[in-house]
């Protein structure tokens, strides 16, 4: 959109600074039906669509087409036998992989679109089409291990994207701010020294992993960074965790790319978890990610969880506004909850991992 001539001074500055953000949605190819009552439901993608229609960010959005991942793409992060079994399970019409994880007949094709969307975003960023990308996908991925579907996740989307990048010799930092620990992503990159995995999550909570003492295998010690926070923790402690632990870890690692497992279930309105973040907190975190971006066009946000649709909408808008560097009025950041001591403890584990 071309700015009109009667902009206020602040609007002019915003537009001059605004960085285009690529947006990939698989809205038209989502045939992953989890059932009417399931929180990880098809209406989540339209809620993200509402987020980018917000006037604050609408002008910075560059739409990009998704693509379907091939089996070879998926095999970057998963065992071939798992992929064959998963396809067979889904297409034979069975529905429940575990008590949380439902599939429908269209789930296999949809999961391939989800994993491929991250790859398509990387391709588009390679062509210089934008400064960063937001990939709106489902089902989410960060609980899926190389050999196991769980926690609503079938294919580990961020792991597929990261492995596509390391396959061409690049180093990748993954920041996982979904409220749940990304056990699958951690597991896949546990001994991989080309990938840094850093997670902020609620604990105790599903899936039970992600203690601060989990720092990676001996050849990759310190390349897994976990900051578990207690129920009720507010965004101020996540920012402190980013500023004192995760940000320095990413800077020291000097990645070529930053991939964000962008879940929005740490929002205080989310029904599945107990952290107390607001949309404003996501904006502040995204601003910090932007400040660490290795170069223009080297940051991809991949949607993970987020089950309150209004919170999902406002938080995604806040994220994109922050990444683009445009002003945007949103919920005030949260502060004053528990979590301070937990960040200090996580920092100690981090320091110990670096000594060893």
């Amino acid at each position: 959109m071309v700015p009109s001539g009667d902009l206020s001074r602040s609007d002019r500055i915003d537009l001059a600074m605004a960085a285009p953000v690529l947006f990939t949605s698989m809205l038209d190819v989502d045939h992953h039906d989890t059932g009417a009552w399931h929180p990880e439901r098809s209406s989540r993608l339209p809620a993200v669509q509402v987020a980018i229609a917000d006037p604050a960010v609408h002008e910075v959005i560059e739409m990009a087409e998704p693509r379907q991942a091939t089996i070879d793409d998926l095999a970057l992060a998963h065992d071939a036998s798992y992929l064959a079994g998963l396809e067979q399970f889904i297409t034979s019409g069975r529905g429940e992989l575990d008590p949380d994880t439902q599939t429908s007949i269209g789930s296999w094709e949809t999961a391939r679109w989800a994993a491929g969307s991250g790859l398509a975003a990387i391709d588009a960023l390679d062509r210089g089409e934008a400064d960063a990308a937001f990939v709106a996908i489902r089902p989410p991925g960060h609980h899926a291990t190389a050999t196991q579907a769980m926690g609503f996740c079938l294919i580990n989307n961020v792991a597929v994207a990261a492995r596509a990048l390391t396959a061409r010799g690049q180093r990748v930092a993954i920041l996982d701010w979904d409220v749940h620990h990304g056990n699958g992503t951690q597991d896949i990159f546990w001994d991989d020294d080309r990938v840094l995995y850093a997670s902020i999550h609620e604990s105790p909570a599903y899936p039970g992993t992600g203690r601060a003492s989990e720092v990676g295998a001996s050849g990759a010690a310190g390349l897994t960074v976990n900051v578990p926070l207690p129920a009720g923790a507010t965004g101020d402690h996540s920012l402190a965790a980013f500023d004192t632990i995760i940000g320095p870890a990413i800077e020291a690692f000097a990645p070529d790319w930053i991939l964000v497992s962008a879940g929005y279930d740490a929002h205080r309105a989310d029904p599945l978890a107990g952290l107390a973040w607001t949309a404003g907190d996501y904006g502040l975190l995204a601003t910090r990610v932007r400040s660490l971006a290795p170069a223009s066009g080297r940051t991809v946000f991949l949607l993970e969880g987020g089950y309150d649709l209004e919170a999902l909408t406002s938080s995604v808008t806040a994220t994109i506004a922050a990444v683009a560097g445009v002003d945007h009025e949103t919920e005030a950041p949260s502060s004053g909850g528990p979590g301070r001591d937990d960040v200090i403890i996580a920092a100690r584990f981090r320091a110990r991992a670096l000594e060893s």
């Binding site: 009552w37 399931h38 929180p39 798992y82 079994g85 998963l86 067979q88 399970f89 034979s92 069975r94 429940e96 992989l97 575990d98 008590p99 949380d100 994880t101 050999t147 196991q148 579907a149 769980m150 926690g151 609503f152 749940h180 056990n183 105790p204 909570a205 599903y206 899936p207 039970g208 992993t209 129920a231 029904p271 599945l272 978890a273 107990g274």
Partner: protein, 146 residues
Amino acid sequence: MISRLVIGLDGSHGSRTAATFAAELATRCGASVLALHAVGLLDRVPSEREPVPSHQHRVEILNELKGAWSEPLTGLSPEYRLVDGNPVSALLRTATDPGDVIIVGSRGAGGATDLGSTSSQTAKMAQVPVVIVPSIDDPAPPERAR
């Protein structure tokens, strides 16, 4: 040799059958019993109810685990534990000692692939022996455990 039986319980018919078998095995070999429930993502958002705070939910679910779900284990003084995760990962992370034996009910999901059932996935990946207890008189297809 068999020092502890680790039983996955979720209130289903299959898990009750497994508990009944475990009670007999524990009595015969003098093993201790750990009754475990995996707390999943959906545990706190039952379809018919509003989400409940997680601590309140954990108290409720622990009461169920100690009560009706473990009824066949009465008299064996089992240890009760809630473990976050899906059933497979919770069992695998918990049963790691050499004397552990995992006991799970078969929920009848034994089709063309081994991806679909807790029991077969557990058996495939476990580092300790696994006993899968069939529930042949299961009258209905497997139901979601709540």
